[in-house]
């Protein structure tokens, strides 16, 4: 018994003996997972010597065996020979069944090797990405068409307006976003004023800081900053909300109940966003200019009253209208992208994450591209 205890503590070993009747493979010790690495090297070593082919297998000193060890034994002598030899080999109870099960599992054809990456794959990837981008753009345009169609159908029937859902969405995407929009635009307004003061001081023209802050916030920064913040905050929320409803099959349930997911889920969000973003853009403009006023008053000795009178006299309301008119367009695009990404979720929770990220990236991208186009357009038109 003590000898057996000793043996059971030893690592697995494999020796090739030369007997008069031919080669004999002596398997001993523990053929288990902890010793797998060493044993695998030993098996590979003996197989390269090509002497295992007709050797007789001796398992009498084997003390422990698990699936890892069984796999190596199969590899050592081959599945067919192992099955033949198992008939007249003495084994501990359970080990025969284990070897047979492992041999049977290994006899099934191996997996096709996983594809490796090659240089050409980069080109293929670029091609696939381009096609995906094109399909995506078409899908987005199609979805925008659906939204407009849905709006046109319901706008004449007040009974089908989802007022509660719209107001709830308005609160979440508009009202709750006011503090962060106000704070960030105030800070950016102050930064722009500092920049202007630094550069314009060289020309003795610090007074034009007022124009710089006012122009930039009324025309561009107010609406752009508000749109980017909302894209990060709300487009992701829309995608995640609709996406988890997709996973939960709630969207399918809506369809099966004879209701229209567009009407229930998308239109309230789009409308709420189109109401919320102009308000947020207005707040952003006001706070940005307030940031500029603060810096002008503290650093440049331009009193707030003077700032405001310059704002009223020199800078026409035209710039405000150009800025604010972009807000509903941005809002529509952000909401459409958020909802579309939600509907594209499929399968797993991971998919929700991917599409949420994609919604944010796409909506910010789209907002900036559309803003750039609008800026060029306005410049050419001389507005």
């Amino acid at each position: 018994m003590p000898a057996a205890m000793n043996a059971s503590a030893t690592a697995g070993n494999l020796e090739l003996h030369h007997a008069e009747s031919g080669y004999r493979l002596c398997v001993s010790g523990q053929w288990t997972l902890p010793h797998y690495h060493g044993l695998a090297a030993r098996v590979a070593d003996l197989r390269t010597q090509n002497k295992t082919a007709d050797a007789h297998l001796d398992l009498s000193a084997l003390t422990a065996l698990d699936t890892a060890g069984a796999r190596l034994l199969c590899e050592l002598v081959g599945i067919e020979r192992l099955k033949r030899q198992l008939v007249d080999v003495r084994l501990a109870p359970g080990q025969r069944e284990l070897l047979e099960a492992v041999a049977a599992a290994l006899a099934s054809p191996g997996a096709p090797p996983a594809k490796r990456y090659r240089f050409g794959d980069v080109l293929a990837h670029i091609g696939r990405a381009s096609i995906a981008f094109r399909n995506h753009a078409i899908a987005l345009l199609g979805f925008i068409g659906f939204i407009i169609d849905g709006l046109a159908r319901t706008i004449w029937r007040p009974r089908r307006w989802r007022v509660t859902a719209t107001v709830a969405s308005l609160e979440h995407s508009g009202f709750d976003a006011v503090p962060i929009v106000a704070l960030l635009t105030f800070l950016v307004g102050a930064v722009v004023a500092f920049l202007g003061a630094t550069v314009l001081a060289d020309f003795g023209a610090t007074i034009y800081t007022v124009s710089l802050v006012s122009y930039s916030f009324l025309r561009e920064f107010g609406v752009l900053l508000a749109a980017i913040l909302v894209a990060g905050r709300t487009a992701s929320a829309f995608a995640a909300q609709i996406g988890s409803m997709r996973i939960n099959e709630e969207v399918d349930a809506i369809r099966v109940l004879g209701l229209n997911p567009m009407e229930l889920l998308v239109l309230p969000r789009v409308l709420a966003m189109m109401l919320a973003l102009p308000i947020l853009a207005f707040i952003a403009m006001a706070c940005g200019i307030a940031g500029g006023i603060t810096v002008c008053a503290l650093k440049l000795d331009i009193p707030p009253g003077m700032f405001l009178s310059m704002l009223a006299n020199d800078i026409g309301p035209r710039h405000f209208f150009i800025g604010i008119s972009k807000a509903p367009i941005f809002a529509f695009l952000i909401a459409a992208i958020g909802c579309l990404e939600g509907f594209r979720v499929s399968g797993s929770a991971q998919s929700v994450g991917e599409h949420t990220t994609s919604a944010v990236v796409q909506s910010i991208f789209t907002v900036i591209v559309v803003d750039a186009i609008a800026a060029m357009f306005c410049m050419e038109m001389g507005w």
Binding site: L33, Y36, E97, A105, A111
Partner: protein, 264 residues
């Protein structure tokens, strides 16, 4: 000696009390599982079958009582010892709990690389073996869990549970959500693996066919305790309203008849 080995208790739960807020799930629950047996836990919804499983594998700390795995209290062990003990158990979660960003082969190879410290190539060889043992076709190796059917997810999760050659296999509703053919095949697979690998199986199930096919003993959870823990015939003969309804209701009778015709 083999007789003594067979009688060894690998799981001993004593005086378990579990509660969530004011709701007491278990109170003074005792349960033992012997080496090499297949123990099935049954009970109505909300009797805490899954909570019991989570308590035994150490995911849930009981409010009172002790759980001993292989004679050691999981919750009282230092972290390193605990990991050593956890390597000796394999768990099949109800939804499979495969890591969704890894392929099936990577899922199975993960514990081999992390715990057995095998180089990736050798871990991949062993993972392929486990996947074949779990009865999956070889082309499943490189698939992501999202691309698998429900039955294949269970098999892949089983392959991962078996990765480190555990002594005890915990199965939480292994056949739930499978079609009858797939469920029967899964039952046979568990039986085969248990014979080949000498597993102890702790099984939570609602499936009467599974009970009749693979369970050695059945523990019925009711009234926050193990009501009865015995062989199938003895449990079915117990005088209790719920057990009568369970085993002698229409579905119970059908499963019993099926099991009998099968054995003949």
């Amino acid at each position: 000696m083999s007789e003594a080995r067979a009688r060894e208790n690998v799981i001993e739960a004593h005086g378990i009390r579990n509660q969530f807020g004011a709701q007491v799930v278990h109170d003074g629950l005792d349960l033992t599982v012997q080496r090499g047996e297949v123990l099935a836990i049954v009970g109505g919804s909300g009797t805490g079958k899954s909570v019991l499983l989570r308590t035994i594998i150490g995911l849930n700390r009981p409010a009172a009582g002790t759980v001993r795995l292989f004679g050691q209290n999981l919750h009282a062990l230092p972290a390193g010892e605990r990991v050593r003990l956890e390597k000796r158990i394999g768990v099949l979660f109800q939804q499979g709990a495969l890591f969704s960003s890894l392929t099936v082969a990577e899922n199975v190879a993960l514990p081999l690389i992390e715990h057995a410290r095998l180089p990736p190539a050798e871990a991949a060889q062993l993972a392929a073996l486990k996947i074949a043992l779990a009865g999956l076709p070889p082309d499943a190796d490189n698939k992501l869990p999202a691309e698998l059917s429900g039955g294949m997810i269970k098999r892949a999760a089983l392959a991962r549970a078996l990765a480190l050659d555990p002594d005890i296999l915990f199965l939480d509703e292994p056949t739930a959500g499978l079609d009858p053919i797939g469920a029967a095949a899964f039952d046979r697979l568990i039986l085969t693996l248990r014979e080949a690998l000498g597993l102890t199986v702790f099984l939570v199930t609602h499936d009467l066919d599974t009970l009749y096919t693979i369970a050695d003993r059945i523990a019925v959870l009711a009234n926050k305790r193990v009501l009865v823990n015995d062989k199938l015939e003895a449990v079915a003969a117990t005088d209790d309203a719920w057990i009568r309804e369970y085993f002698h209701g229409p579905r119970g009778r059908a499963a019993m008849t099926a099991a009998h015709t099968h054995t003949q």
